[in-house]
Amino acid sequence: MAKSKISPLTRLINFLFSPILRAQIVKEILCTLRDPRSRMSLIVPPILQLVLFSFAVTLDVSNVNIGVLDMDGGRQAQEFLTTLNEAKFVGKLYVVHSQKELENQIETGKTIASINIPQGFSAKIGNREPAIAQVLIDGRRANSGQIVYSYIQAIASNLGASTAMPQGPQPSSIRYWFNPALIYQWFTVPSLAAVLVTMTALGITSMSIARERELGTFDQLLVSPANYVEIIIAKTMPALIIAPLMGLMMIFAAIFMFGVPFNGNFPLLVLSIYVHIFAVVGIGLIVSAVSQTQQQAILGMFTIAVPMMLMSGFSTPTENMPQFMQYIAEAIPNKHTLLILQGSFLKGQGFADIFRNLWPLLVTGFIGLSAATIIVRNRLQ
């Protein structure tokens, strides 16, 4: 401070490593790691989510009953039925003799899906012509039905045939690339990385100011020479250190436990995760800055987190939301990060594609952190 001519770089380093900031960063990390509540939120959710989601997948589509009307009776049709019968997800295969019966079974809940193999199915496959089996799904059990449909579709495609649902989505070519038994997890497990990182970062940061305020140490901090920017920078650190570990854990789980193929650029993905946390931390600190107690902060965090998850496209496609909600969704970090994760895992996107989803995160982060700083400062007035 005494010397007048210092290069901007030295100044930056001096700023980054000033004793005032260093002391605060150490304090933040110690407090986060030693707080039993923070620790719980670090350990329990990842394990819970891993277990829950990996089991949820198998539970969803095992032991389902399917009705079959074979109007063809050819070799390929027989093969189709045999494969279906042996497939793990099928409980019972009911062979019936009329379309009416098929519909009846679905109506009474006896079956979740029914397949109508039309005449000439085997012949068409033999001639390498498009052969289509009609599939009927129980719309009341839409989610499971969708998965069952994709399995049936995959079995059919192995035979060289395809399937169709009346008014249902046309089979898209991409789907044929997936291993049907894992298709659900291929989407969810990488996406879980984003969910987990978000929850961890939100959990840590939303508590940090509120905890100090509740215990009275925040006043102590405010009367010290530490300025608001330093206070906010220090408060982002625990999340920036801990949350990426959670994300990496989930990504490795996706690759090694669930065998999701990773086709993208790994360093780029790690960078994206950091940027994502940067954005989430801004939101978390706003919640924390407006809360007077830790209880308020926890409630505030969930008030923010639930809509954030719902609008991110994790469980429902964002395209189905009303237009104005879609605009709001642009500010939600998860919306972009999910695309980055899927792009990295399944599509193998490069920098240009990733950056398209990265810059909104940067904008959200800068706005969030600035807002948190201003709120902390204005609370004094």
């Binding site: 004793p19 005032i20 102590q220 009367v223």
Partner: protein, 580 residues
Amino acid sequence: MTENSDSSIALEFNGLSKKFGAIKALDNISAQIIAGKLTGIVGPDGAGKTTLLRILASLLRADEGQAKVAGFDPKTQSDLVKDNIGYMPQRFGLYEDLSVMDNLVLYSKLRKVEAKNAKKLFARLLDFTRLEPFTDRLAGKLSGGMKQKLGLACALMGEPRVLLLDEPGVGVDPVSRQELWRMVEALTDDGMAVVWSTSYLDEAEKCASVLLLNEGKILFDGPPDSLTKTLIGRSFLIDADENDKRAVLRGALNLPFISDGVIQGSAVRAVCKHIDDAKKIREHCKSQKLNLKATEPRFEDAFVDLLGGGPGGHTPLTDNFDPISHKNEIAVRCENLTKVFGEFRATNDVSFEVKRGEIFGLLGPNGAGKSTTFKMLCGLLRPTSGIAQVAGFDLRHATRKAKSNLGYMAQKFSLYGLMSVRQNLDFSAGVYGLDGALKAERIAEMIDAFHLKKYLDFSPEDLPLGYKQRLALACSLMHRPSVLFLDEPTSGVDPLTRREFWNHINGLVNKGVTIMVTTHFMEEAEYCDRVAMMYGGKLIALDTPDGLKASVTSSNLLEPSMEQAFIALIEQVDAQNGGA
């Protein structure tokens, strides 16, 4: 009231013990409480007062021992006990979102008061508590004193035989406290047994009988004056002029035959170890040319004596402290300081100056604006208008410079419970920009001065109260501030810890540190050189403690206490406002 005719035992307990983890909250205590009397359960925070009351109210089970409350056993007959007692917990126990009347109705139903009797009872309680005009107001919007009165009304709902009040004097200004006191006296006159727990020793003096608790043990059981009497002939006042009263105190405390000493206005109150030591103190004062006079002992003198006397006068804290040199002699200045929250003027046009090395107190009831003023001075709030300067720096412009000149010790010692003692020291040094060798040196100094070595790896939460206080002080002094702000520094603390704390403070003042202190605790005001009394956002008086007392002295009030002076000054202001 005739004491002898009505001395039935309302409440008794025998060999009560209660542990929380490793801490013995109550350690084999026994006593009897008589109906028709006000009994004080007196002791510092953590002495076991609340635990005892909760066991008697059958809200908590004792580990060992028996109790009988209004003739019933709280362990086995908790329903009967609850029907016969009124209990007022520390935080009022009111529903803040319900009106005064709603609260009364709710409690009457909980206490199974019959509807036809309820109206009469409400009228009586409202009349008794003078809450009649406020029946529609939400309980949350009442002042501390009015909340306490409503709490009392709710506790009286079932016409209990025993009334248990847990620290009813906390958060209540002296005026309301006096009123509350009168109400409770009226109740005991009707034959009710009233138990009033408190950490204020001046409240204890007014009780008919006290149980003095410390660290879970009963130190004394009986009328307070019978304890105070044991000190007759041992309490003295040494005259000292304003400037060297702290030196006189230090000198007195270092004498081997003095067990306790505090500052009282411009004099030093000294208690000698034995009645025979009176001669020695007389000789000492004569040789030092000090004016000595014998005085009536106080309950607090006796309490400290029971605890084995107060600490000595030396503080190692300031041995290495360089005297602080201010360029200007004014350490803290505020000029027309005003803070407006919406329509409400929390601080209204307040001006004063504090000299270097002065202890300056901000005194006032809750909501008087003392905290707001205090927060503006240490940079926690921005003034709406006016000037606040600390060590010559305007807090609005040079905050960083001003801030590194001030130290701040928050109420209830805000330390990081999640970090160890050493980490707390490290953090405080670092956040004030200390680094490298200087940082290590200062930390070592503090560890040394406050004997923190054996506690370095503890969490501050696990420290004994006295050490917690030392640590908080160490953290706020790490950067050698020239002005130290103390927010209610010793409320609820036992008298020994308080004396030790003020020893350190006196040592700092000796080196030229300026002390700003807010308090609603009248004893603490005595330590100040000057006291600014605030009421309704305004500064209503500013003088030395003795000056304030003298200003209200009259024929009915010959030797007013600090609290009486306070009440009188507020009443003067109210009378003026009423007249205008």
